[in-house]
Subunit: 225 residues, 2 copies
Amino acid sequence: MSASELVRPWRGKSPEQRVAERREQLLDAALEVFATQGFHRSRVRDVCRQAGLTERYFYESFAGKEALLIALAERIVADLLAAAAPGIALVERDLDAAVDAASGAVVRSLTDDPRRARILFVEVVGVSREIEDQRRAIIGGLAGVVRAAAAQAFGPWVLESVETELISRAVIGAAQELLVAHVRGELPLDQDDLIVNFGRVFRQAGPIVAAMAGQQDIERAGSRT
Amino acid sequence: MSASELVRPWRGKSPEQRVAERREQLLDAALEVFATQGFHRSRVRDVCRQAGLTERYFYESFAGKEALLIALAERIVADLLAAAAPGIALVERDLDAAVDAASGAVVRSLTDDPRRARILFVEVVGVSREIEDQRRAIIGGLAGVVRAAAAQAFGPWVLESVETELISRAVIGAAQELLVAHVRGELPLDQDDLIVNFGRVFRQAGPIVAAMAGQQDIERAGSRT
């Protein structure tokens, strides 16, 4: 037996890979447990049982169930942004096509598996001051994505304008409200309705920002005289 | 001393009036205590001390601090609706004037005393499943006010259209997001910025609903042929 064989990873995986795999198992388990039992009624042991792992492995990756909830929310957001990216990439060429593609992708990413929307729009709300801060940071980040896309469509001045920050926030707030109402069953909305109205929300921002671009040109011309 | 003098109310007030006055004192105290200490860190005794009343008088009006929080949120919403009413009343004659007047009134009602906005957009969020249900009912009610105003402006068909329900929800979601970001100090927004952008959010809905009215006429004409 050679020296290299002696240090080869167990079952062909490095310890780091196995930690990462167990972390994924715990995130999958949390998606099921938190979405079906509700976060407040879920215990670390429920998640471990669902994952088929002992609590020792839980604390290897997470400080507690709040840290797991945040990691889960971040994964859901990362997945929806990855799903939206090809649509957003169209923004310079065709704003409407970009909005349609990204709206469809985001809504599907959150509602094809409705547990995802439930985690992000119900379970993560108001758990604690720390988690509220994280949730608000996520919303700020999503508004930032909208703003960056608007900058690609309308020009880099968008990133320096407080007004476009407000518009991005308003758009995210509107989109979020539709999803919350959908997840909570407050409205008779199917996925297609949601996609159409999601697109409508984002499309509203275009003409406002475009009008601001015109206004900007006027202000620049004014400042030169 | 006559019989009527014997049953006259203490200090000229009936017992019911005194209960109502103490309830108001407790609501005022809760506004201060919950907004400055945070709801989670506030105790019934803190509110009583602020109100200058014993706990016996607290439980005369409220089952506990959650019930007080809900009553406070409802009072804040009732006050903002009362403030918005004269603006909303203009909706049939002049939609833009109505939006401007109502936006200014709502933002001022919530931010002239910033504790009001803090209660409604921070402290009331995610406290418990019951309070979340109440909070969502408030949001649904506000969307209903927007929808009723749209019906006055565009016709009673608005009240039967799921689309206008979605638009009202989206508008409320957008407006709420601006207020939350403002209350939490996430954006460099003064009250005037807030009013302008609040108005912008509500103004967006007008042309969409107007276009739907046109679409409705086409569909009606189609169904007649």
